[in-house]
Every structure is written in structure tokens, then in C-alpha cells.
């Protein structure tokens, strides 16, 4: 077989390598988890897992998933018939029985005409005479469904009594990652404000802490890096598929936690707290929800932590000095004269009575509590869960050494992204056709058009190969960069075509002609390279995608695709 020559072979090798780097996957199934609700999270599902099926129904795209999830996990309310010593009632219930029971006595009743203090006698036709009778049926009263979710890792089977909220996206079909403005999400630029100017090391530490916090928060699909703007050192965070409201407060909170007795600090987060119970129902969770006041519900959460020995010593010393109050000798030992007060960012979030038995003891086990409020029970529960998670996160990571000011926040809708991407691809395709038409008008020779088309498409493909290899995020700016480098590519190919096609004179050999063309191309390349270089660092690197796409594009153009174009044209013209 006749060889294509070095230049064309090199192009073919690059195209193959690019294909490997992009690694297109044609038969992917399932959907990737973007975010989870508390129920499915506690079952062990994680962000990034790929869900293959729900109740054996395959889910291949987000629309299908939403449909299947709704079908599998929505439960219809059931009728509860209830008889007490004083009254009876019939009502619909879904995920809440609307009362609590203590010693067969109704508590926290939200049922019309059933009051607290009434004694439960019968429910759904079952007589309740002893606690055991209640315990036997209490979990079967509310409607529930068994959901089977199969992921790429394992199958999860669990009961739900309300619709699950799991957000998913399509599984990526190649190594090319879409940037924020194509995928949707939130971008935040933070400026640390402290008494001293943040050093590079400070920025690095901040990034570590924020990154940990986002991980704990379940926001795994994120990018975070340092960004310099003029003389300021900033931090850039991009989180895909999350709205502005979800991250705004959380990220900028310094998260300065302090547990105080009186004016003395017992412990803060981070090093003082080697263990924080999280995502484990036995030592962390929402324990109680009540109607706090008219139209206002409140839920209390608790979770346990362990203190370091230093912090425990401090606790002992401080409590030693306190008096015991309220001890009545009737089973209650009373409390210390001052409570343990928990502050988050200077705000009192909870005040805990300290049992007198803890006076002067080096206790390491502490139960932290707090609350959340809302206009209905669900809202209050969510608020409490959110507050708990925030507090746990702060205790695990410690507080940030700087206050953070949000200097830029962009939130991009995922719909935009999809539209922009389709539109940009269309624009690019039409641009390539337009170029070919202009070139055809000039040369009226398909022998020029063909290699030019191959070269242009190869250039785009190899740039995408680089994007896949280095896991760049292809954003709008990068697409502009690709179009721009294709633009200069066309320029160079026209120079080459002109040198080769100038048949008349025939003074120079092919080689000589190409050499002459390449002087022009190399100088133009150097000039473009020099012009784009400063953009890598400008605007906190937000236009880096554009600069790099252009630079990579012109570089592979000059050294790989355009020499191959010369070789192809040479072969075609020599025939």
C-alpha cells in the first residue's frame, strides 16, 4: 500500500488519538444523580451515581426518570377511622397521622374534634387496649410503597411514604464536559476580607475548607479554584445544576461557631470537635415537630458530637464554678446556673441547660440541638434539616479565617445552556459551509474544497480531543475560540492553496512553494499567539476557555492539520 506521507499520517494519528480522548459512548443507559432528598440520601444513594431503573422500569433520560419516580414513589392518602374515649373521627392522612401518642393519650392533635388528652380506643377497626396493640399496627397505618432503585453500584430497596425528590441529568456520553453556561448552574466569585490581606496559602486553605463544606453538603459536582483579578486574590466556584439561592447564603457564611457558657468559650468547630454525627439516624436527626404558634410550626433537631480532651478540660473548669439550681430531689438533679449557648456567626442559635451531674466533669460527649421553623410541618422539617446540616458542616470543617464577600454571582438556567449549545453548533456548521462557498467561488475547483473541508473538520475534532483529554469545560467562550481558530485556519489554507495553485510560473518546486507559504503562516501564528496570550490571565481566567481554545486551535492548525492540507492538495493537484 502506498503511504500517505508523513504529514497526512500524522493527521490521521492525531484524529485517532482525539477519538480516544473524546471517548464517545454510544450505548449509555440510565441517568446521573444531581441532587437528592434526605430520605434517599439516608439510604446510601449518592450524587454522581447512575440510576438504571426504578421498579424494574428502565430510565434512559431525565423525562422518563421523573415520570417513573413519580409513579413509583407517590402514595395516595388513606382514610383513618379513629375512636377515643370521648369522640370519633375519620380523616385522610398521607405521611403524618396528625397526632402523637403517649401512654395511649393523644398529643399534638391536628385532627378536627379530637383534643389532646383524649384516650385512643380504636383505630381502623382495631381495638387498642394496651401499648402493645398500638405498637403492632402503628407502622402499618400510613400508606407506603416499596421502591426499588437500581444504580450502577447496587440495588436499593426501601419504603417511602411520600414522593422522593431526586434530580438527575443525562449521563455524559463522552469525556467532553460542558461548561457552566452550557449546562446551567451557579458561578460565584468570592473575595476574602480580613484584617490582613489573604496570602496564597490563605487562599489555598480557604479553598480546602469551602471544598470540604460543599462535599459535606452534597454538592459534589463543582469546580473551585483561585483567581487573581488585578491585585485581588479571589476564589472562583462553579457548581453545576444548582440555583443561586441554594448556595448563596451557605457559601458566604464564614461559619464561625462558638459554644459559650457565660462569656467563656468552651469549644469552636474544627479541631475542638474530632467527631460529628451526621447522616446516622441513631445519633442525628429531627426529633420533634410542634405547632409553635398560630400558623408557625417548629421542629427540633439533635445530633451528638465528641469534644477533644482540651475542650473537655475547658468544659470542666468553667462548669466547676457554676452553681446548681432547681434540684428538687424528686428524680431531677437540677441544672447549672448558666446554660451552654451555641452561636453561629455571632447569632445565638440555641441555649442548652446543663445537667448538674456534668458539673466539673471532663465530658467529651455533647448533644447539640437547634430548631427550624416554617408555615407548615414540612417546611419546618426542611428548615430544621437544613439548619442541622449547616451546623454539622461548620463543626466538621471549622470556621473560615476570613469573611467572604460575593463579588460576582451568576446563575445560568439549564434551558439556556441547551439552547445555546444547539445554536452554537448550528452557527459553527453554517459558518463552515459559508467559508467553503466563498472558497469555491474563488477557485471553482472541488479538489481544493474537499481537503479544506477535511482540514477544517479535523481541526475542530482535534480541539475537542484536547478538551476531552484535559477535561476542559467547554463553555460559550471556548466555542467562540474554536470558531475563531477555524477562522484563522481558513486564512492559512487559502495562503497554502494560492501558493500551490499558482501553476503558471512553475519556477518553484512544491516543497519550495509550501516553505514560502509557511513563512507567512508562522509569522501570523506567532502574532495571533502573542495577541491571545494575555487573555489566559485576565478577568479571573473567565475567558481562559476562549484563549486556550484559540491557542490550541491555531497551534495544531499550524503544526498538524495545515501541513496535511498542503500534502493533500499537492497529491490531488499532481494527479
Amino acid at each position: 500500500m502506498k503511504s500517505f506521507g508523513v504529514r497526512i499520517n500524522l493527521l490521521i494519528i492525531m484524529l485517532v488519538l482525539s477519538l480516544i480522548a473524546i471517548a464517545p459512548r454510544l450505548n449509555v443507559d440510565g441517568v446521573e444523580i444531581k441532587s437528592l432528598d434526605a430520605v434517599s440520601k439516608s439510604q446510601g444513594l449518592n450524587v454522581g451515581d447512575v440510576i438504571k431503573s426504578i421498579n424494574d422500569a428502565r430510565v434512559d433520560n431525565p423525562e422518563k426518570f421523573i415520570e417513573s419516580l413519580k409513579e413509583a414513589s407517590s402514595v395516595k392518602p388513606v382514610r383513618i377511622n379513629l375512636v377515643t374515649d370521648k369522640n370519633n373521627a375519620s380523616y385522610l392522612a398521607q405521611d403524618d397521622l396528625l397526632f402523637e401518642l403517649e401512654n395511649l393519650t393523644i398529643k399534638n392533635s391536628k385532627i378536627e374534634n379530637i383534643k389532646d388528652g383524649e384516650i385512643l380506643k380504636e383505630i381502623n377497626g382495631v381495638k387498642i387496649n394496651y401499648i402493645e396493640d398500638w405498637e403492632k399496627i402503628r407502622y402499618d397505618l400510613l400508606p407506603s410503597k416499596v421502591v426499588r432503585i437500581k444504580t450502577d453500584k447496587k440495588e436499593y430497596v426501601f419504603q417511602v411514604n411520600k414522593e422522593l425528590e431526586i434530580n438527575v441529568k443525562e449521563v455524559s456520553r463522552s469525556n467532553i464536559r460542558k461548561g457552566l453556561d452550557l449546562e446551567g448552574g451557579t458561578r460565584i466569585l468570592l473575595k476574602p476580607i480580613g484584617e490582613i490581606k489573604a496570602s496564597n496559602q490563605d487562599i489555598k486553605n480557604l479553598i480546602d475548607v469551602i471544598s470540604d463544606r460543599l462535599d459535606i453538603y452534597g454538592l459534589a459536582d463543582k469546580r473551585i479554584r483561585a483567581a487573581d483579578v488585578e491585585n485581588d486574590k479571589l476564589i472562583l466556584i462553579e457548581i453545576a445544576g444548582v440555583s443561586k439561592e441554594e448556595v448563596e447564603d451557605f457559601i458566604a457564611t464564614q461559619g464561625k461557631f462558638e459554644a459559650k457558657i457565660g462569656n467563656e468559650t468552651v469549644f469552636t468547630g474544627g479541631n475542638d470537635v474530632p467527631f460529628v454525627c451526621k447522616d446516622d439516624g441513631t445519633c442525628s436527626g429531627v426529633r420533634r415537630c410542634d405547632l409553635a404558634s398560630e400558623g408557625q410550626y417548629g421542629c427540633r433537631f439533635e445530633f451528638s458530637i465528641k469534644l477533644s480532651t482540651d475542650a473537655a478540660k475547658r468544659h470542666a473548669e468553667i462548669t466547676k464554678k457554676l452553681d446548681v439550681v432547681g434540684g428538687s430531689g424528686l428524680g431531677s438533679d437540677g441544672y447549672l446556673s448558666k446554660p451552654l449557648e451555641l452561636y453561629l456567626d455571632g447569632e445565638l442559635i440555641d441555649s442548652l441547660q446543663i445537667s448538674s451531674s456534668l458539673k466539673g466533669s471532663e465530658t467529651t460527649d455533647i448533644l447539640i440541638s437547634g430548631s427550624g421553623f416554617g408555615e407548615n410541618q414540612d417546611a419546618a422539617l426542611n428548615d430544621a434539616l437544613l439548619n442541622m446540616e449547616k451546623l454539622q458542616t461548620v463543626l466538621i470543617t471549622g470556621s473560615l479565617p476570613f469573611q467572604l464577600e460575593i463579588v460576582k454571582i451568576d446563575s445560568i438556567s439549564p434551558i439556556f445552556g441547551e439552547e445555546f449549545l444547539k445554536n452554537a453548533i448550528l452557527a459553527g456548521a453554517v459558518a463552515v459551509v459559508a467559508v467553503l462557498i466563498v472558497v469555491f467561488i474563488r477557485y471553482r475547483n472541488l479538489k481544493v474544497i474537499f481537503p479544506m473541508m477535511i482540514t477544517l473538520l479535523s481541526e475542530i475534532f482535534i480541539i475537542l480531543g484536547f478538551a476531552g483529554l484535559f477535561r476542559w469545560n467547554l463553555d460559550l467562550a471556548a466555542i467562540a475560540g474554536i470558531i475563531a481558530s477555524v477562522g484563522t485556519g481558513v486564512d492559512d489554507q487559502i495562503v497554502i492553496a494560492d501558493e500551490i495553485l499558482r501553476g503558471q510560473g512553475q519556477i518553484f518546486s512544491w516543497k519550495e512553494k509550501l516553505k514560502r507559504a509557511f513563512f507567512i503562516i508562522l509569522v501570523a501564528y506567532a502574532a495571533t499567539f502573542a495577541a491571545m496570550l494575555p487573555l489566559i490571565w485576565a478577568v479571573a481566567g473567565l475567558l481562559r476557555g476562549f484563549a486556550i481554545a484559540t491557542l490550541v486551535g491555531v497551534t495544531i492548525g499550524v503544526f498538524i492539520t495545515r501541513p496535511a492540507f498542503g500534502a493533500m492538495l499537492e497529491k490531488l493537484m499532481n494527479k
Binding site: 446551567g184 483579578v229 488585578e230 440555583s243 443561586k244 464577600e405 460575593i406 463579588v407 460576582k408 454571582i409 451568576d410 446563575s411 438556567s413 439549564p414 434551558i415 439556556f416 439552547e419 445555546f420 445554536n423 452554537a424 448550528l426 452557527a427 459553527g428 453554517v430 459558518a431 463552515v432 459559508a434 467559508v435 472558497v439 460559550l476 467562550a477 466555542i479 467562540a480 470558531i483 475563531a484 477562522g487 484563522t488 481558513v490 486564512d491 494560492d498 519556477i507 509569522v523 501570523a524 506567532a526 502574532a527 495571533t528 502573542a530 495577541a531 491571545m532 496570550l533 494575555p534 487573555l535 490571565w537 485576565a538 478577568v539 479571573a540 473567565l542 475567558l543 476562549f546 484559540t550
Partner: protein, 297 residues
């Protein structure tokens, strides 16, 4: 009359066109600077403020603008978002110089009756200090780009007048589109400035081609070489104008639209700056060199 002899007779007259353009744009830019203290109107990304995009059909942009100006007592700019190609109405963009977001969202909902969520609503918020830093940083980038490009040109051609001619041509390619942008009142964003950097790259392509052919080639006479390079160079320029011009009409992204617009204007200017100005300077330079050679030779 063929092009070569036309050029030989008229190159001095042709030279007047770029000079007029240069003077015109300098006057516009200087007076704009005197009036506003700025090089161009900056958008939210370079000045600070909020830019919100509502992705919903059938919103009355004028009504929304009046409503918001009334309620917020500040300048509000609302424009329609859509692409000419399909003549579709995609949504509207709201721009405000102040940093008000939560209130803005509520007011937009109130005025349009559209409920905004993460799917149909995008928002960009920049503090004014950051916008200013971005702006300063980008201006520096443009200057550094220009200087680096200049060094490349001087190293490549190693003679003062032809190299300066290339830089002068690139300067016209930047300053003339800038004056057009100022006159039309377009607000420039960060990507728009990046487009000016690209202009530097594109602009010098044709100049390098021209200068190489004139100075380093021996076939044909001076005018033939210029016309020859123009044939190649104009094909290059028109191919790029065709590509980006069409892309301008198709794209729905304001970021890309502005970039393409700036580059297309600059490419048209580049035809004048390369073949009327740069070639005239080269003709004059070659003639002078020839005279010197005759004198000394």
C-alpha cells in the same frame, strides 16, 4: 486598465481613505472620552450591576422597562432576546447598574405575571469594584497583546517602516470599530474586548501576507505582487466575513453576537487598512529604497 496600473497611478489617492477613517475615529474616540471619561459604554460584566435573562415567550420589553424604572427609580435597560434566523421570541434581558436582585425578581414577576424559577431565569451579578478590575485588566491585556504582536512583527521583518505599517494597520482595525461601537451606543462586555484581541490576530494575517510578498518575493513587479497578495488576502477576509457574518445572524447568544459583530466590522476595515494604507506605505518605502540604491549603487 488593469489593477496593477490602477494601483500605480492612484495609490496616493487611495491612501486618503484610511487617513480620513483614522482621523474620524480618533475624533470620535477622543470626544467620547472627553464627554464620558470612558472608552466605550460598559455592560454589567465590566461595570457592575445585574443582568437578568427571562426565558419566556411574549414578554413586552417596553412595558417591563417602564415598570421597573418606575419602581426602582434607576436606569433600566430591557432588550429582546431572539435570533433573526428563525425570527423567534425567546425572552428578554434586563440590565441594571445597581446590585438589586431579590427585589428585581419579584418586580419582574409582578410585571410579567411569569413565575421565575431556575429553569427560566438566569442572573448575572457583578460588584462594581470587580467590574472595574475586570475592565482595567482587559485594557491591560489589549495593550500587552498589541505590544507582543508588535515584537513578533519587528522580529519577523526586521525593518522599521514596513513593520510600523503593519502595526498602524492593526491600530486602525481596532480604533475604527471602536468608534462605530461608541456611536451606536452598544454596551461592550468582557467577551467583546476579547474580540478586539482576536482582531489583532486576524488583522495582521493579511498584512503579513502583503509585506512578505512585497519584500521577500522576486517574481513580477511591485504592483503585480501587491495585486497577487490582495487576491489571496481578500479571499481570506471574505471567507472569514462570510463565516462570522452568518454566525452573527444565527447565534442567540449576546456574548457571541457581540464578538462576531466587532470582528466583522474590523475585517471590513482591514480591507482598507491593508490594501489602501499598508500597501501605499510599502510602495512609497520600496520606491525610496530603489532611489537610494540607485544613488548609492
Amino acid at each position: 486598465m488593469n489593477w496593477e496600473s490602477f494601483l500605480e497611478k492612484n495609490y496616493k489617492k487611495l491612501f486618503v481613505v484610511p487617513i480620513i477613517m483614522l482621523v474620524f475615529s480618533l475624533v470620535v474616540v477622543v470626544s467620547f472620552y472627553a464627554k464620558t471619561g470612558e472608552l466605550f459604554y460598559r455592560d454589567v460584566s465590566l461595570k457592575g450591576g445585574v443582568s437578568a435573562t427571562i426565558y419566556e415567550k411574549g414578554i413586552d420589553a417596553d412595558k417591563l422597562e417602564k415598570f421597573l424604572e418606575n419602581k426602582l427609580a434607576t436606569d433600566v435597560f430591557v432588550r429582546k432576546l431572539g435570533d433573526i434566523a428563525s425570527d423567534s421570541d425567546i425572552g428578554v434581558v434586563v440590565e441594571i447598574g445597581d446590585n438589586i436582585t431579590d427585589e428585581l425578581k419579584k418586580l419582574i414577576e409582578e410585571s410579567t405575571g411569569v413565575s421565575l424559577n431556575e429553569k427560566n431565569f438566569s442572573i448575572e451579578q457583578v460588584s462594581s469594584s470587580l467590574g472595574e478590575s475586570f475592565y482595567q485588566g482587559l485594557l491591560k491585556a489589549v495593550i500587552i497583546s498589541f505590544v507582543l504582536m508588535g515584537i513578533v512583527i519587528f522580529v519577523a521583518f526586521r525593518s522599521f517602516i514596513p513593520s510600523t505599517a503593519v502595526l498602524l494597520s492593526a491600530f486602525l482595525d481596532i480604533i475604527f470599530p471602536l468608534s462605530i461601537i461608541e456611536l451606536t451606543g452598544i454596551k461592550v462586555n468582557a467577551a467583546g474586548i476579547a474580540a478586539f484581541l482576536l482582531v489583532i490576530g486576524y488583522s495582521v494575517d493579511t498584512d503579513i501576507l502583503l509585506t512578505t510578498k512585497v519584500l521577500k518575493r522576486k517574481e513580477g513587479n511591485l504592483y503585480e505582487r501587491i495585486v497577487d497578495s490582495a487576491k489571496t488576502g481578500l479571499t481570506m477576509t471574505f471567507a472569514t466575513i462570510a463565516a462570522l457574518g452568518i454566525a452573527y445572524f444565527i447565534t442567540t447568544s449576546f456574548v457571541l453576537k457581540q464578538m462576531f459583530l466587532i470582528i466583522v466590522i474590523a475585517l471590513f476595515v482591514d480591507i482598507v487598512s491593508t490594501y489602501f494604507m499598508n500597501s501605499a506605505i510599502l510602495i512609497w518605502y520600496c520606491k525610496k529604497k530603489e532611489k537610494n540604491e540607485k544613488f548609492w549603487g
